[in-house]
């Protein structure tokens, strides 16, 4: 029997699935044009996002666990629900307004709805089975979206690469879940947490191995080095809106499950000895490889692809810094844990703003410039001051230069790393931030210094310029008026499982 009182907490997923089904049928039988379909999908998402804001969150440290512990609702779940809906809204709007129109494009607006359902379910998953099903929903709909322009060989290559590597990573994940289930006999997070914390004086090898395999699967989602190989190629081949979706939505999806797994389930007790070195190395490699490999890139989408790997590194530093227990470090105070998790949320919000600004500009330019190499940008500031300013602001924000919003995120990462005594990570963070500024300045140089090859102004339609202006204002406002972003992320933390507390206190 389904206890209906918990329905509101799963309402976003259910309603969005229903809406996506309705749209699919309507598109098939009422022959809606792609444009109408996209508008309807967008309207559904906006209404849902507003509704989701009103779903209450139980006061921390309690989470609302329901449906036999399959799902849970806490501050992080709510934050990520709204986050994914915002991402989906921008993706569908981009596909409709900014990008070149697609023939038979109805599904192009409907598939992101299914992806979003999967992502939202990830955010409230409290069981490895739910998590896996949700993740597959995300991944499979992405397979289609990435290869949507399959007549283009580059897109096809991207689709095949994503399919093969995605399937491989899912296999790792399932294998890992199987090992964890084999040792503990459960896939529910709550009993798992108790078992990991209390039953084993040392983590059994099989359990640790399972955890590492799960991390491989998650590392693929967030493009953590060494599981990043797909990133730049897929970014280059996918349609711009989908690249942005992958870069922000898929990464955030990976992060929420990473946080659930390493901070909640394996957060207390000895398990940190397994995942801490793995993530530590992953963070450093991502910071270095992402930011250094971006330097020689001439294609803007590949450049942003590598930079996205680098940003995973920055966020991973914050994730590591929000753990309650780290081997060899003093235990975190509850305040430190909240600061760390809030940093992840802040980083994601600022990353969303900057990334979508950049990809909207690229989507506009893709139709006009005949290519997305850096040299195509030459003299853009004369041809379209708006596009140049928007792209420059987004890059400078990604680089973390004050007073733009990216600075708040970078400053918080530095703060968290210092606060948790992660000095080596702090060093690499600083190094990577300087290296990142170097390659972000390249396109700015092209736009502002280089003489234009072609003087014709680039016109931007009204809705695009309005959205770009809003995003630019938000980039500045969230950086300078820090209260705005503080309000957005307040309470966006995982519920601290009550059992974690005594264990932390014992040390």
């Amino acid at each position: 029997m389904i206890p209906f009182s918990y329905l509101p907490y799963l309402a976003p997923e259910i309603l969005l699935t229903v809406w996506a089904m309705v749209l699919l049928l309507a598109e098939a039988f009422l022959s809606l044009t792609p444009r109408v379909t996209a508008r309807l999908a967008l309207a559904g998402i906006v209404i849902l996002a507003i509704g989701t804001l009103f779903i209450e969150v139980p006061a921390s440290p309690h989470a609302l666990v329901f449906w036999n512990g399959l799902c849970k609702w806490d501050g992080a779940a709510k934050f990520f629900h709204v986050f994914f809906l915002a991402v989906a809204a921008l993706v569908i709007w981009m596909g409709d307004e900014v990008q070149e129109p697609l023939t038979n494009g109805g599904e192009f607006a409907i598939l992101p709805l299914f992806t979003t359902v999967g992502l939202m379910l990830l955010a409230s998953a409290n069981d490895f089975m739910v998590l896996f099903v949700a993740l597959e929903l995300v991944t499979i709909s992405f397979y289609i979206l990435v290869a949507y322009q399959h007549r283009n060989p580059v897109a096809l290559e991207a689709g095949v690469k994503y399919l093969i590597l995605g399937a491989l990573s899912s296999a790792f994940l399932v294998m890992g879940i199987a090992y964890i289930f084999g040792v503990t006999g459960t896939t529910h997070f709550d009993p798992l947490t108790r078992i990991v914390t209390y039953r084993f004086p040392e983590i059994p090898t099989a359990l640790g191995f399972g955890l590492l395999l799960v991390l491989v699967g998650v590392g693929f989602k967030i493009a953590m080095v060494p599981f990043h190989i797909w990133g730049p190629d897929v970014y280059e081949g996918a349609p711009n809106s989908i690249t942005a979706f992958l870069s922000v939505g898929s990464k955030a999806g990976g992060l929420i499950i990473l946080m659930r797994i390493v901070l909640e389930v394996f957060g207390a007790g000895k398990a940190a000895e397994i995942w801490y070195p793995a993530l530590y190395v992953g963070a450093i490699l991502s910071l270095l490889l992402g930011n250094l490999a971006a330097i020689p890139q001439r294609n803007l989408k590949r450049l942003l692809g590598y930079s996205s790997i680098g940003h995973s590194g920055f966020i991973l530093v914050a994730v590591i810094g929000s753990a309650a227990v780290l081997p060899g470090k003093p235990n975190a105070l509850p305040l430190d844990i909240i600061t760390g998790q809030t940093t992840v949320s802040v980083y994601l919000v600022t990353y969303l703003l900057a990334t979508f600004t950049a990809f909207i500009v690229l989507a506009v330019l893709n139709r006009r410039l005949g290519g997305l190499e850096i040299h195509h940008l030459a003299g853009l500031s004369q041809r379209s001051p708006l596009l140049a300013a928007a792209f420059a602001l987004s890059l400078v924000s990604l680089a973390g230069v004050p007073p733009l919003s990216g600075f708040i995120a970078k400053a918080l990462v530095i703060l968290v790393a210092w606060n948790r005594h992660l000095y080596l990570l702090l060093f690499f963070t600083l190094f990577a931030a300087v290296a990142a500024l170097y390659y972000y300045l390249g396109p700015i140089k092209a736009m502002y210094w280089s003489e234009p090859l072609d003087e014709t102004p680039i016109r931007v339609n009204r809705s695009t310029s309005v959205v770009l202006t809003i995003l630019m204002v938000l980039l500045v406002v969230t950086g300078f008026w820090a209260q705005s972003i503080a309000t957005v992320v307040t309470g966006s933390t995982l519920a601290q499982a009550p059992i974690a507390a005594p264990v932390v206190a014992q040390h």
Partner: protein
Amino acid sequence: MNPPISALLFLLLFPLGAILCIIAKAPARPVAGIATALNLVLSLGLLWNYPASQGGFAYVMDWSWATLHGLPPIHFHLGVDGISLPLVLLTAIVSFAAIAISPRSIKRESEYYCYLLLMSLGAMGAFVSLDLFFFYIFHEFALIPTFLLIGIWGTQNRQFAAFQITLYLMAGSLILLAGLVALVMALPAADRTFDIVALQAYLQQHAIAVATQDIIFPLLLIGFGILVGLFPFHSWAPPGYASAPPAAAMLHAGVLKKFAIYGMIRVAIPMAHDGFLDFQLVLLTLLVGNFLYAGFVTIAQKELPTMIGFSSIMHMGYLFLGVACWNTLGVTGAVILMVGHGLSAALLFGLSGEITRRSGENRFSELGGLAKRAPLLAVLFSFASMATMGVPGLANFAGEVLVFFASYTAVIPLMAIVGIFGTVLTAVYQLRALKGIFYGPMPERYEPGAGGDAAVVGMTDTATVAEYVPYVLLIVASLLIGFMPFLLLHLVQPSVSLLPYLATQR
């Protein structure tokens, strides 16, 4: 209770408003000129009204700005005292001069003035902020505008220079950020604050453990040191300033670099004083590099802009020396010298741009005898050289002499002697520059009627009087301080003597 709005806010609103007006297609040059002129008048008024004899912060306003969960609240806290007020005035004067000397016809005019105003706004904001968050981010306002100014309007090897200066300064800022974060997080969670005044008050009661200070102070020192061009972190400055358009170099070398010295006085030394004492000798040793290494390298320069760039690095040594003594005399001298050097550096960079523009040349070997063709320019350049050399009667002397007295009575008397030797080096390169450009035989192509080269034609003093106003303004300010140093002394000293841990003078 602080008033809700202070006059300091307008120092920030004028440039900001001007930028918005220019974006809204208002004529750029007049708008920028008016905004900076208003700032100049306003800062003079603030100076006039400041209760100098008491010291301490005036014109304070304090808005609650942001509270991020788990972090201390951020306040929009403005205020000036006798240390920051002269710097505010310096910023206003140099900004006005930089706008005024900019060429009438410059490509992409509105962008150019927007970037200059942003630099000016950033410097002004950093000097009036009393909250670490704003102190830091206002300074960073200038980073990207500097990159664009050098890149779009720069000369010579502008691409390399622009990338180098931007990346180097970004690295410095990030190290500084790490140091500031470390400083704030060293306090127990309940007492953490970004407010400079509150932080200072707390740290005076409960100093941070010395071992922690020994980590924090070097971070701050390297961060500020990179921003100011402390040896060996100086290599970004000369090529950057040589390539920058004169107005940008004036603002950067004259004003923005002073942020780091100001930060040493306001944050690094008083808040991590034990760390400072442990690293005082290291700092003083590095200064020898500034005095001697940079001094000799300056003499070897063959081009005017790079020479001025290196000389500005060298002169940072005097500022650091005054601060490193950490007694009333030394810090007061450093503040006065900051103003003096800001004026003289702005003057030199402006004049260097003018000479290069008119003669089409900046190598000493190709110049000479120009006093015949441009006597006014020669007079102005002589004043600038004398100011830089520290000739009595100009502001730099007033500051330098205090710094030398202070350092002679403080830690190592030898440093005073090295510093004084440095002034001899300054005289060598400044006089050689003066002679090389304005005296001696004049190349034939500068004779009247020779050739008809556009650049050469411009060599005569056909410039209108109005074009000299900004230079005269800078010289008058320097003379005024030079002849009546008590004007600044009375303003600066009471506030300096309120600083904590000042060494007693022997």
